[in-house]
């Protein structure tokens, strides 16, 4: 998972550094505001812990062993901002001092593991655990799922970064200059190991340590569980949680849309109306009502006004339509959530004034 120097082009590395920078800035500012001087030793020790825990060989079901990053664990104990900074520091020391991960690829490694990993782990943990009591079994399950999904989201990011290299960077002979495998090879090659061993290692570590802390040091779980019910007999389900779970399930299931062939009735494009075979299909599903000859003038004119960047829910660089569907779902849902949260933030600010 630690991308070394040489696998990604310098321009990709620069973009990923730029992508990581705002997260570092916001995380540091939040921590400074919340913890004042205390954040320095706390993050140093959590970073040192992350470094050491990455060396643990965890026994996995089936008799093998595997390494974990501890990203979900760090997120559950110190929150996403703390985890982003602590893991970034651990990754820097690994890159500079131990040659694990490149220096030019440091931004990429941080974005994949520290930032995406922490945010995915945080979202999963909070959505699944909801307001469950600190000692609830649900928190152990939430930690396992958070660890499993966080490491797989990180691996998917790394795979996409590898996979776009041969499309973008080739010499005059057509030689890929960096990571040589396109997306349809890079994504499965990377994900097979992470969906099985690495994901299992992360789930085992997160769930095992959370279960241990529940028995011995439950206070460490309190900071990231606001609103956790103290009385285990009260219902712990957050009203929004089923909706979040349903949204996640729908995103994963979007490739099912591929099972339905052809265009939806009435959603025909100018290209469909110009293609005789498509025209015949449209007439067949419209009760044999005749179509206007050629493409209507207004449709032809308006269809070129705006070209969507993710046309047909499949970004042009992706070879797999199913993956394109799932990524488009995540991208679209992310944009909608971002807009809603931004509007909510503005409204709350206006109300506070």
């Amino acid at each position: 998972m630690h991308i070394p120097d040489g696998y990604l082009s310098p321009s990709t590395c620069a973009v990923l550094y730029a992508g990581a920078a705002p997260f570092w800035a916001v995380a540091l500012r939040r921590l400074q505001r919340r913890l004042a001087g205390r954040f320095v030793p706390m993050l140093a020790l959590v970073a040192a812990f992350s470094f050491v825990v990455m060396m643990f060989n965890l026994p996995l079901p089936g008799g093998t062993t595997g390494h974990a990053t501890g990203v979900a664990l760090a997120t559950i104990v110190v929150g996403p901002a703390g985890s982003i900074v602590a893991l970034s520091v651990a990754l820097l020391i690994q890159a500079l001092f131990f040659g694990d991960g490149g220096i030019t690829a440091y931004g990429a490694n941080c974005l994949n593991m520290a930032i995406v990993g922490s945010l995915v782990a945080w979202a999963c943990y909070r959505i699944i655990a909801g307001r469950a009591p600190l000692t609830s079994r649900l928190r152990v399950v939430a930690a396992a799922v958070a660890g499993y999904l966080a490491i797989n989201a990180s691996a998917l990011c790394a795979a996409v970064e590898f996979g776009i290299q041969p499309m973008l960077f080739r010499d005059a002979l057509g030689t890929p200059l960096y990571a040589p495998y396109p997306l349809h090879i890079a994504v499965p090659a990377m994900m097979i190991g992470h969906l099985t061993f690495a994901g299992a290692a992360e789930a085992v570590l997160s769930a095992g340590v959370i279960a241990y802390l529940q028995r011995t040091n439950v206070g460490l779980l309190r900071d990231t569980a606001p609103g956790a019910v103290e009385d285990a007999s009260l219902p712990a389900i957050d009203v929004l949680r089923p909706l979040w779970l349903a949204l996640g399930a729908l995103m994963v299931l979007t490739p099912l849309g591929l099972l339905a062939g052809g265009a939806a009735w009435g959603e025909w494009s100018a290209r469909d109306l110009a293609d005789p075979a498509a025209r015949a299909r449209i007439v067949a599903v419209s009760g044999s009502a005749p179509l206007p000859s050629g493409v209507p003038h207004g449709l032809a004119g308006l269809s070129t006004v705006w070209t969507a960047p993710l046309r047909g829910y499949a970004p042009p660089f992706l070879q797999s339509t199913a993956l394109g569907y799932a990524l488009s779902a995540m991208f679209g849902a992310g944009l909608v959530l971002l807009t809603v949260f931004a509007i909510r933030g503005m409204l709350l600010k206006a109300r506070a004034r």
């Binding site: 120097d5 030793p41 140093a44 060396m55 996995l60 131990f98 890929p176 095992g208 241990y212 802390l213």
Partner: protein, 274 residues
């Protein structure tokens, strides 16, 4: 490989990883105190110089430039007294690892076929692509090794500070590095203690519980230690401002080294992008 090695449990494997990390760090610190060429150069010059050459290796679009750059880096490593056995071991490990990753590219990359292996055509583009990857990774890793083997850690921290990395981040990095050893030792002791009171082979679930409980104890210790460190810092007057002890000053030879690094990087960029 002996049967004992094959049946090593997770405790032994983890102990080996922990000891290996400790050993690597202490050997780097010993090397940084040697009297080689780069050991006398200012850490900022080395950090920026090595970074410029890593980027030059990354942008190069020509295998001959990359190979020459790698040769120059190898000479730089040798005159800086990075031991040959350390270099050859690093090169061999990287070669095996990167070549294993790049090998299928010989067959999967579309292009002009130059040979066939077991009936599958090898393409020129695939071969060149694999060579690019190996060459780049070897060059960048050797530069990283040269930087770390010739620069004591406190000087790297001071260099980061003078290159405008925020003071709090530099302080966190410095403290992390020191406490990694404390926690490595702690983890090592816990695993040795556990091993010395275990007999026979434990069940999978028990072993998992044991490993995660050790990680849990270590996390608890780390956070308790962070509270104690904060109190100790406050007791010594820490009020949030960060100062570093190491003051770096540029001397004549540092400027010369800086000029040489710049010239080398410019030539490498120019030749790599020609």
């Amino acid at each position: 490989m002996t049967a004992a090695v094959i049946h090593r449990g997770f405790v032994e494997k983890t102990l080996t990883s922990l000891l290996h990390a400790l050993e690597r760090a202490s050997s780097s610190e010993r090397l940084a105190e040697q009297r080689g060429l780069l050991q006398h150069v200012d850490a900022r010059v080395k950090l920026l110089g090595c970074l410029a050459l890593i980027v030059a290796a990354a942008v190069s679009r020509h295998l001959d430039t990359l190979t020459l750059l790698f040769a120059a880096i190898a000479i730089l490593a040798l005159v800086s007294r990075v031991p040959l056995h350390l270099l050859t071991r690093a090169w061999a490990i990287i070669f095996v690892f990167t070549a294993a990753i790049a090998l299928p590219a010989l067959f999967t990359t579309p292009g002009q076929s130059i040979a066939t292996v077991a009936g599958i055509p090898v393409t020129l583009q695939g071969l060149r692509s694999a060579a690019f990857l190996v060459d780049r990774v070897e060059s960048a890793t050797t530069l990283g090794l040269v930087l770390i083997s010739t620069t004591p850690w406190p000087q790297i921290i001071a260099a980061l500070r003078s290159l405008r990395v925020p003071a709090a981040v530099v302080l966190i990095i410095g403290m992390t590095y020191r406490y990694i050893f404390v926690l490595l030792r702690s983890a090592e002791e816990m695993f040795i203690a556990r091993r010395s009171r275990s007999i026979g082979r434990l069940e999978g679930a028990v072993r998992r519980r044991m490993a995660t409980a050790t990680a849990g104890v270590l996390l608890g210790k780390a956070l308790a230690l962070s509270d104690e460190v904060y109190l100790a810092m406050q007791a010594r007057g820490f009020r949030g401002e960060v100062r570093t002890l190491e003051e770096l000053r540029m001397r004549g030879r540092d400027w010369t080294a800086g000029a040489l690094f710049t010239a080398a990087a410019i030539v490498a960029f120019w030749q790599g992008l020609r």
